[in-house]
């Protein structure tokens, strides 16, 4: 029982962090039809932002606040310099963002070296939940991620800005013809997606080995979540990340990390075979 609870908590933990990375990826894909191979590096840079701030004596909490802001700015620059020139050429966007991913990774290696960095845990205490001890910091991650994800959902489905974003996703030429500023929407979305991934990287940094490969470790499950959940609604993203993170955590707790990988990929293959558009279908009116 206690064991099951621990696994469930760990699964939620991973799922929520994954959700933050995946949300940006899926909104961007819907809006600009761009598959951003460099999205994992936004997560990576978020984690290294914490390393950098701590190196100069800043607190972890300061770093956690600065990371999404910094990544938002980096996202804006990337959109302006790279993405906007290629977004209407689908295959080229994969190539361009992949190149960007490699460059960012190498830049991190040049600046911080190839070895893993340590970020100390700011909340090392544990707390008792239904008779089992659980790290407080993991609960903090969940709270941050729930707030950020709920905020994203509210922004997307309850505000005028979200309505405009969804209109551009549904029919970009028509949205533009109605006077909706599609350029500004692209920029804001890219910055927002990068900021969410940066927040995820920063908040996860104390739990992970912060090294130049950590972005890929999140990018692949994020893509799998999108394939499984579908790109039609953000609810699909929620479903996809729950399945991928849930299956991965549960299986690795019973057997091993390797078995978990195999099961997750097999699960993805089965879902995609049965639901080629993902569980909630593809984008509407494409």
């Amino acid at each position: 029982m206690a064991q099951a609870l621990l696994v469930a908590l760990d699964a939620s933990n991973f799922m929520l962090a994954l959700l933050l990375v995946t949300l940006g990826l899926v909104i961007l894909f819907g809006l600009m039809n761009v598959i951003n191979m460099a999205h994992g590096e936004m997560f990576l840079l978020g984690a290294y932002a914490v390393v950098l701030v701590q190196r100069y004596g800043g607190s972890f909490w300061l770093a956690l606040a600065l990371a999404p802001l910094a990544l938002g700015v980096i996202g804006l620059v990337i959109e302006e310099v790279v993405i906007r020139h290629v977004y209407h050429r689908f295959i080229d966007t994969i190539l361009a963002t992949w190149g960007l991913s490699i460059s960012l990774k190498q830049a991190v290696i040049i600046a911080f070296g190839p070895t893993a960095q340590q970020v100390h845990n700011p909340l090392p205490q544990t707390v008792e939940i239904l008779g089992t001890l659980y790290p407080v910091y993991r609960l903090f991650i969940m709270a941050v991620a729930v707030l950020a994800a709920a905020g994203t959902f509210l922004l997307f489905y309850q505000t005028s800005l979200g309505l405009v974003a969804r209109a551009v996703i549904a029919n970009r030429p028509m949205a533009g013809s109605l006077g909706l500023n599609t350029r500004r929407m692209d920029r804001m979305t890219f910055a927002f997606g990068a900021a969410l991934a940066g927040l995820a990287g920063a908040v996860m940094a104390p739990l992970m080995s912060v090294d130049p490969q950590m972005g890929v470790g999140f990018l692949i499950p994020a893509f799998l979540s999108i394939l499984v959940g579908g790109t039609g609604t953000l609810l699909g993203t929620l479903l996809g990340t729950t399945l991928i993170a849930g299956a991965g955590t549960v299986v690795s707790s019973i057997w091993s990390q390797i078995t978990a990988q195999i099961v997750v990929f097999a699960l993805a293959i089965v879902v995609i075979r049965l639901f080629p558009q993902g569980l909630t279908g593809g984008s509407q009116e494409r």
Partner: protein
């Protein structure tokens, strides 16, 4: 007001549809554009709206050059577009569709004014309904309402009678001509339906192989079957 000079445009792969279009629409004037399918009428409207990049020639509106500008800027210059096939947002409610006609406009309240529901009463009844559940005629009215809600000075209408039953076409004609008359909105109408052309426009241009080849007063079309036979009969 709208002035198109030597406009050349076509598909992205380089296939030309518009060879060299010259036309003008004066302030408050309503002009019809007729011609057989594939002659470039829809392409012309798309090029004016900035959805297609012209190869040569230019579009000016009230003296400012709109050539090559993105659609959202052209819309904000005062040109509204009702495309063929309507292209309403099917998954959004009627009210949300209308709000989208306002949200991108600088200096305009984002609230849907009651006046628009006064002009299109059926939309008031359906305001909370998903737009995809409306009938063809209702969807057409929604597309027009969404375009005129921002009080544009020029309305581009592409085949508003397509897939709409005749009684509704009549109602649409009455509403659009009332808007045009009361608000001074110019109309550039692409249409095959003669009744609608007669009801809405004063002047008619015929387009063939990407050029404007003839024009006539719309009122004359009813008597002069020769023009229609020459430029419209298949």
């Amino acid at each position: 007001m709208l002035r198109i000079r030597g406009l050349v445009a076509g598909y992205e792969d380089g296939g030309r549809v518009l060879e060299s279009i010259d036309l003008q629409v004066a302030a408050g004037e309503s002009v019809a554009l007729m011609g057989r399918n594939g002659m470039g009428k829809t392409t012309l409207l798309r090029a004016v709206m900035g959805l297609l990049r012209p190869v040569a020639g230019g579009v000016t509106f009230d003296g400012s050059d709109l050539t090559g500008r993105p659609p959202f800027e052209i819309s904000n210059a005062g040109i509204a577009y009702v495309p063929q096939g309507r292209e309403i947002f099917k998954d959004f409610t009627v009210e949300e569709n209308l709000r989208l006609g306002l949200l991108g406009k600088t200096g305009m309240a984002a609230r849907v004014p009651d006046a628009i529901y006064g002009r299109f009463p059926i939309l008031a009844e359906r305001r909370a309904q998903r737009a995809g559940t409306l009938s063809g005629g209702e969807q057409q009215q929604l597309a027009i309402a969404r375009a005129v809600i921002s009080r544009p000075r020029l309305l581009l209408l592409d085949e508003p009678s397509e897939g709409v039953q005749p009684s509704i076409v009549e109602a649409i004609a009455a509403t659009v001509s009332a808007i045009s008359r009361e608000e001074g909105t110019s109309v550039l109408l692409v249409e095959q339906n003669l009744d609608l052309v007669l009801a809405l426009t004063t002047r008619c241009l015929f387009i063939e192989n990407g050029r404007v080849v003839a024009q006539s007063a719309s009122a004359r079309l009813a008597d002069d079957s020769g023009l229609l036979a020459r430029y419209l009969a298949v």
